[in-house]
Assembly symmetry: none
Homo-oligomer: 223 residues x 2
DNA sequence: AAGATTTTTACAAAATCCTTACAATTTCCT
DNA sequence: AGGAAATTGTAAGGATTTTGTAAAAATCTT
């Protein structure tokens, strides 16, 4: 699954873009401003960013600069309302970035995204291998010593997440927000139940385990 | 699987060509310039190159020269916007190369590629064989143990797609977009009905099956 | 118009997910 | 340390969502 982060302060446009890209098979997150976007990126690996340039608080370039300080790889597709860009702005983009002038066609957006992704060769399989344990996002399967471990959608998401950032502790709230949705009931024990089920299913796996960080959440650790 | 490398700096055209060739059954990589292309070639063996001539940084001829220093065999199909080529440029191509003048029809491109590949005696892969099961794109037929399995257009498209990428899960949305078109109603159950019909028709086939990935979509797996 | 194909609909079946309840564990406080 | 409070583990079962599929309706083909 390819993850795209959309940064756009116009709620309606943001929603339209996200919806369309999601429909096109991408996993999409919509952030309303740069600060939000940076928070998103702390908790999820994105393959591409689509960002407006003119936004309140933090403009697209400042945002991009901050992002690049951490991740040099990720391509950024800038959206701008100005029909002709200043040379300074044009020069800001690197070889693997691109521009799109509003208003644009959604199909056009999709093509540009596909082209950018192709350019950085993101289309490789996202597989995480830990000893004899393999979790594959494209196939949506988990295997241990050649035997498939059947995981449900939520279980898969959570486990893949934990293993993507080993040792990092994820709060229930964070997992809840990402996989269950914003409006989820905070008193819900769903995450715990999901973790319990995962532990049962990976009980044979010796390479890692999910441990509880009391009062904070869960994390995956190698052993 | 035949691997084709497309070298074209116009992102949109690049994407269009890649998408089309991919749809035609080739494994395609898209490079935006010669340097990129050479990097690609370090990591993968290609059977044919489709390259623009006029590109920034490194033009198509310089690129081709570099390629041939390493690989004498690989055929190169040049694309050019000029209607009449200089004799020097014409003379550059070898017997197993070809030219295509822009703008061109995609069908024309496909035909030329097929011709070039034939010339170097590489067999076309439009046929997928899995044990006693054969699905042939050219004839648009499916056979099992010599008996034809009659498939409708949609059924054929979906099955061919699933079998082209075994184990990969395709979401309803993705299949919908590719074979039904983006405007299609997202609440539609057409994909499910199509899968149900396919399953009925391939129920005798032992070599593979279509599996439901709950909450995500469908995939074909060997067994 | 007849036949084939595709879509919609409706209901059944299955899978997933959530809540609940109570037990176990950990932390906090004196 | 001992007990209270908060947090976590987890089984059970019922609610919800997703999928299967037959049959009717709509659409396309010839």
């Amino acid at each position: 699954m390819i993850n795209i982060l959309v940064v756009e302060d116009d709620a309606e446009l943001n929603e339209t873009i996200c919806r369309y890209l999601n429909y096109s098979g991408y996993e999409v997150s919509g952030a309303m401003n740069g600060a939000d976007a940076l928070r998103f990126m702390e908790n999820k690996k994105y393959d591409l960013i689509v960002s407006d340039i003119m936004m309140p608080l933090m403009d697209g370039f400042v945002f991009a600069e901050t992002v690049r300080a951490v991740n040099q790889e990720i391509p950024i597709l800038f959206m701008t309302a100005k029909d002709d860009l200043g040379s300074k702005e044009k020069g800001f983009a690197r070889g693997i970035d691109d521009y799109l002038v509003k208003p644009f066609d959604l199909t056009e957006l999709k093509w540009r995204i596909a082209a950018l992704l192709r350019r950085v060769r993101i289309e490789q399989v996202k597989k995480i291998e830990i000893g004899a344990f393999v979790i594959d996002e494209e196939e949506h399967t988990a295997n241990y010593r050649g035997e498939e471990i059947a995981l449900t959608k939520k279980e898969f998401s959570v486990l893949y997440k934990l293993l993507s950032f080993p040792k990092k502790t994820f709060s229930r709230a964070a997992l809840m927000e990402e996989f269950w949705g914003y409006d989820s009931n905070s008193t819900s024990r769903s995450v715990d139940v999901c973790i319990a089920e995962l532990r049962k299913k990976i009980s044979e796996v010796e390479e890692f385990e999910i441990i509880t960080v009391h009062g904070l959440g869960y994390k995956a650790v190698m052993r």
